[in-house]
């Protein structure tokens, strides 16, 4: 399920995969495109089932879907090494799956079941997988950005060349934690890539009503941090920008601030409609024309890479994976009541 490519192809500098001339043979490029498409399809079909499960009451609480933004997760994760780190916010299902987490364990977590990645105690907003260096899943807007700087600090402390990638929405750039973290990351030269997923809406507030300077990459300039703005509906544009940022982080411990320009096709969470009170149906439909899956599919069609029937086959596989995750989660038992008291504190001898 993971779209990670082998580590040895990723230590090299700026990826130019979109041009198909980064040294990889053409068939590798085709297989990479297929992997990326597969990743996005799985995320999409998985989350469509999340919406359904939410409506049926199988998923409770807040449920923030990522639909429309999948090129960011698929593109970024495809550039990371297994020993890199990822820290993210509450819109984390797609990122978790793209990083390689089992859709079964993610769905079981959403269902609040024992086999969920956090044993049913974290839920939608708190997906974690230590084995994949996936460090959550955090629910306070921008509150996790300093954590990423801390992971960067630990990498530097140990002298490694890993990178910590941190995802957050554009509304987080107005939070103090964001500024404090970027300042320290730049001051101390920490190997971090800060990724703003700019879907234009912080819950129901459009960016122009919340952010004095809509050029959010300019926030990095205040901390002498390079940044760029990326068409994040194009998975290869994402890969290119992330590749450049990873190279800077690995070789110079230079953090980067990337703005991924995207759009969410659903509401902020399952509690609000996709369109209605804060944006128009027309706006939504206009943006859905640049569905990242469509954009990649068209590119592959144009290159003759996606013969008739192939897309449907991949899509059917994605649907089957989502169904399998649902079935697994549905059968997983609720956590035993004894779990209530577990993991509050680690048992220590002191």
């Amino acid at each position: 399920m993971t779209t990670q490519v082998p580590p040895d192809t990723q230590t090299q500098a700026p990826s130019t995969a979109s041009a198909g001339n980064n040294g990889q043979p053409a068939d590798d490029q085709a297989s990479l495109r297929k992997d990326l498409l597969r990743s996005m399809l799985i995320q999409r079909r998985f989350e469509e089932r999340c919406a359904e499960a939410y409506a049926l009451g199988k998923i409770g609480g807040f449920c923030h879907l990522y639909i429309g933004q999948e090129a960011i997760s698929a593109g970024t994760m495809s550039m990371l090494r297994p020993d890199d780190y990822v820290v993210t916010s509450y819109r984390d299902h797609g990122q978790a799956i793209a990083r390689g987490m089992s859709p079964r364990s993610v769905m079981a977590e959403l269902f609040g079941r024992q086999d969920g990645c956090s044993g049913g105690k974290g839920g939608s907003m708190h997906l974690f997988d230590k084995s994949l260096n996936f460090l959550g899943g955090h629910g306070i807007v921008g509150g996790h950005v300093p954590l990423a700087a801390g992971v960067g600090w630990a990498i530097k402390y140990r002298g490694g060349d890993q990178v910590c990638v941190c995802f957050f929405g554009e509304a987080a750039v107005n939070i103090g934690a964001f500024h404090e973290a970027l300042n320290m990351a730049s001051l101390w030269k920490l190997p971090c890539v800060f990724i703003i997923e700019n879907n234009r809406y912080g819950m129901g507030t459009e960016i122009s009503r919340a952010t004095a300077n809509e050029d959010v990459t300019a926030r990095g300039a205040a901390y002498r941090m390079p940044g760029e703005s990326v068409d994040a509906q194009d998975v290869f544009a994402v890969r290119d920008a992330v590749g450049r940022a990873l190279h800077l982080a690995r070789t110079q411990r230079q953090p980067t601030l990337l703005e991924m320009r995207t759009y969410r096709f659903m509401g902020h969470s399952m509690s609000d409609a996709a369109s209605g009170t804060y944006r128009t149906k027309e706006e939504l439909e206009e943006n859905m024309k640049r569905d990242p899956i469509l954009v990649l599919r068209e590119k592959m069609h144009a290159g003759g890479e996606l013969p008739d029937g192939e897309l449907k086959k991949m899509d059917d596989e994605a649907k089957a994976i989502a169904q399998d995750a649902w079935d697994f989660a549905d059968k997983s038992p609720e956590p035993p009541l004894s779990e209530l008291w577990e993991d509050v504190l680690v048992d220590t001898t002191s």
Partner: protein, 326 residues
């Protein structure tokens, strides 16, 4: 046994733990080049270098989060807040991230870290710099809250806190740094969650923690001159609270006064009284009384400040009241 100040005892603990475990580092405002705002970290930069003793910008929330992130991937940070008053800016990180990470990750991410710094009232620092935060922090599951009252306890408890795999909030008495006491040399630890009977008597139990332990001992000395011998139970940690130690003492004395620096409402003392009424209802000969800061922000004027703070005369009056002597 050598006599050390509370400050030097803390420094010994830091130094010994920095030597013992290279995953341990100290981070905070002015901890390195300035040698510590309260000089607890004096000399450590020279010995351990700038990756182990780290000066930060004035960004409590930010560097608390940096510590948490580093603990998630295996380091053992000690985050110094210049005072706990400033740590309020970081409370989201302490409460929403550090305290809950283990639980919400289903046990995947322990938080082996310490948040430490001066706490409690000082002298004429007014409302924003003179307050005690332990009841706020003790409210949070997932944290341990430590409040040493003596130099020996400060060293042994800090070493335990650093070695603990949980987030430990370590509240040093701002007015205690210059106090002196005998401190064992070399490596020793004091278990978190265990109270200490600092004085023995049978007339009344005084429960105290942090700076108020010294006040309780003054009270014990003064009452001894009148032939009244009291137990002084030093909680040492307020989360977890050693309920058994409190109950054992109250079952013997049948009376109790709880002394604390914080405000009355929802204070640590309120919790202690709750434990006492549950554990020792039939043993009590009088209602348990509390001595605490008056329910006002700390005033600047000397006379008002004195009136606001809990002190020995107030505690003596409370003991006499529960003994029906006043």
């Amino acid at each position: 046994m050598p006599v050390l100040t509370y400050r030097d005892a803390l420094r010994e603990a830091l130094r010994e733990e920095l030597i013992r475990d290279d995953r341990v580092f100290l981070m905070g405002e002015e901890v390195a080049q300035y040698n510590g705002a309260y000089k607890v970290s004096k000399g450590l930069l020279d010995e351990f270098g700038p990756m182990r003793i780290v000066d930060t910008p004035i960004t409590e929330l930010g560097f608390a989060g940096v510590g948490i992130g580093s603990a998630m991937v295996g380091l053992r940070p000690i985050i110094e807040f210049m005072t706990w008053n400033f740590a309020l800016l970081a409370i989201d990180q302490v409460v929403n991230a550090a305290a809950k990470m283990l639980y919400m990750s289903g046990g995947q991410f322990p938080m082996p870290m310490v948040f430490r710094g001066p706490n409690g009232s000082a002298l004429q620092l007014s409302a924003q710099h003179s307050q005690a935060w332990e009841s706020w922090l003790a409210h949070i599951p997932g944290l341990k809250v430590v409040t040493p009252g003596t130099p020996a306890d400060a060293k042994g408890l800090l070493k335990s806190a650093i070695r603990d795999d949980n987030p430990v909030v370590f509240l040093e008495g701002e007015m205690l740094y210059n106090t002196k006491g005998e401190v064992p040399q070399g490596d020793y630890t004091i278990p978190l969650g265990k109270a200490d009977l600092k004085r023995e008597g049978d007339a009344c139990t005084i429960v105290a923690h942090g700076k108020m332990v010294l006040v309780a001992l003054q009270v014990a000395d003064a009452l001894a001159k009148e032939g009244i011998a009291v137990d002084v139970v030093d909680l040492r940690t307020v989360r977890p609270i050693d309920i058994e130690a409190i109950a054992t003492s109250v079952r013997k004395t049948n009376r109790a006064v709880v002394l604390e620096e914080g405000w009355e409402i929802c204070g640590v003392g309120a919790q202690v009284v709750d434990f006492i009424q549950r554990e020792c209802f039939d043993d009590l000969d009088s209602p348990v009384l509390r001595v605490h800061q008056e329910d006002v922000p700390m005033p600047y004027a000397k006379n008002l400040e004195r009136a606001a703070k809990p002190d020995a005369p107030k505690a003596i009056a409370a003991v006499k009241k529960v003994m029906y002597l006043a």
